[in-house]
């Protein structure tokens, strides 16, 4: 399996925030969801993938190429969608297309007009009059019209109504049908990912917690409930974080087999949603 994006031991320091030694691989032909709380480092990581930021240390490779020597070739193959409008506000979609299209060798005008029709986008109205959903559709139409192999999206579903969110996810699924495309997108609405993601990368406080297939995530992680007296210093090690209540404990484990061995039938195990996982990790107690 080929990696379309490879971040190798990447670090970037800012005032009061840093990305620490991230190793992240995005597999070709799959949808990878990038989750994390606000401020966890999702946008920073995406900016490094787009070469808007350069890492202090480590390597960033896309399609096996690096930005120092192949910047144009790499960007030619990427379609990007950002969470805010990056297009000139006063311009209409036709003029924006006039500016963006000549930048790409493989720009496909017919395809662009197909998307414009499909999304019901007005060509002659200025972008600033567009609703958030329409702006997203416009960015998407532009991102999809040059036969990009990799679509990178930063919070594409943020601020969208539930109906359009579903439409968008349906569209992304359609895009994946040809099997060669790769989609990488960040979100903090984890229910989006249950529908379409094949892989999940989870970042917290600038560190990558895991990057696994959604299948492995459901296998490895579980919510465990049981009586407080089952917990002691040793058994607690099986958990990422434990919530105690007078009625019993509830905890997240990243090793379901170990929990089964230790506790057997004395505890109840439930499937942990991505939201559960994010919530318990936020609790902050790491066991390694």
């Amino acid at each position: 399996m080929e990696n379309v994006v490879e971040l190798i031991n990447v670090s970037k320091k800012f005032k009061g925030f840093s990305i620490k030694n991230i190793d992240l691989h995005v597999k070709q032909g799959f949808v990878t969801g990038f989750i994390g709380a606000n401020g966890a480092g999702k946008s920073t990581t995406i900016k490094m993938m787009m070469n808007l930021l350069r890492p202090d240390a480590g390597e960033v490779k896309l399609f096996g190429l690096d930005y120092q020597t192949n910047e144009k070739d790499i960007k030619e193959r990427i379609g990007f969608v950002y969470d805010s409008n990056v297009f000139f506000e006063g311009l209409n979609l036709k003029d924006i297309k006039r500016i963006v299209a000549p930048a790409y060798r493989r720009w496909d005008d017919t395809l662009f007009h197909q998307y414009v029709e499909k999304f019901e986008l007005p060509l002659n109205k200025s972008i600033k009059t567009f609703s958030k959903g329409m702006q997203m559709k416009a960015s998407l139409a532009i991102a999809l019209s040059h036969h990009a192999e990799l679509i990178i999206m930063d919070e594409p579903t943020a601020g969208l109504d539930p109906i359009f969110r579903r439409e968008l996810l349906g569209l992304l699924q359609e895009l994946m049908l040809d099997g060669t495309r790769t989609i990488f997108f960040s979100t903090h609405i984890t229910t989006d990912l249950d529908r379409i993601a094949d892989y999940i990368a989870f970042i917290q406080r600038g560190e990558l917690v895991f990057s696994k297939s959604i299948h492995d995530v459901t296998e490895d992680y579980a919510l465990v409930k049981g009586r407080i007296d089952l917990l002691d210093r040793d058994t607690e090690k099986a958990f990422v974080h434990v919530h105690r209540a007078p009625t019993g404990f509830e905890a997240l484990t990243d090793n379901t087999t170990e929990v089964k061995e230790i506790f057997g039938d004395t505890v109840v195990m439930e499937r942990a949603s991505l939201e559960d996982i994010m919530y318990y990790f936020k609790g902050g107690i790491h066991h390694v």
Partner: protein, 201 residues
């Protein structure tokens, strides 16, 4: 690269309607032809910079298949292209209004424009968005305010320099000035590229 230069026209399509009356205003007011050439040249490139101040524009341009060196190059080459176009237009307007001007006016106007570009373009990449216009405005006022006293100081106290300039023949004076403008322009281009390469969006 050409697309990046053309972009300025697409963005400013509507403002260009102000361009013609803007030039005509200076012509009718009887401004120095050299000065008219200067302000006409400034119009498009500096207006374009107003847009490029925004972080979003830089995110967009840098996400498209362009190199940072190309983005800067398009600015510097674009300034020359739009200067030539503006000079052409202004000349036509001057002809139409029966105002006389010489080649010297064109040369002085464009020389001053290129110098102004060279001095201000790097500033656009140093200062934070929002402050730039103020900084450029203040530096423009300061420069014109300081220029007078400095020149008179030089002519009064450093007679060697004035004598040197007076001794030069007109062609060599022009050649020298052109050379200096080209060097400063190239330096400015280099500095802007270095700054822009390191920028974070």
């Amino acid at each position: 690269m050409f697309n990046l230069i053309r972009r300025d026209i697409i963005i400013q399509k509507n403002q260009l309607f102000i361009f013609i009356p803007f030039i005509l205003f200076f012509i009718i007011m009887g401004a120095q032809p050299a000065f008219t050439f200067l302000v006409a040249s400034i119009f498009i490139p500096f207006n374009a910079f107003g847009y490029d101040e925004k972080a979003e524009t830089n995110i967009l341009l840098n996400s498209l298949p362009y190199k940072r060196t190309e983005i800067i190059a398009s600015r510097y080459l674009g300034a020359i292209v739009y200067m030539l176009l503006s000079i052409g237009l202004t000349s036509v307007a001057l002809f139409a209004f029966n105002k006389t001007f010489t080649m010297t006016d064109v040369v002085i106007g464009s020389g001053l424009f290129l110098l102004f570009v060279a001095l201000t373009f790097p500033l656009f990449h140093i200062f934070k968005p929002g402050y730039i216009t103020t900084v450029v405005l203040i530096s423009f006022i300061l420069l014109s305010w300081i220029a007078g006293p400095v020149v008179s100081f030089i002519s009064n106290h450093l007679t060697g320099i004035t004598e040197f300039f007076a001794s030069l023949s007109t062609p060599s004076l022009y050649m020298g000035a052109t050379l200096i403008v080209i060097i400063i322009y190239a330096l400015s281009w280099g500095i802007s590229t270095v700054i822009y390469e390191r920028k974070v969006f």
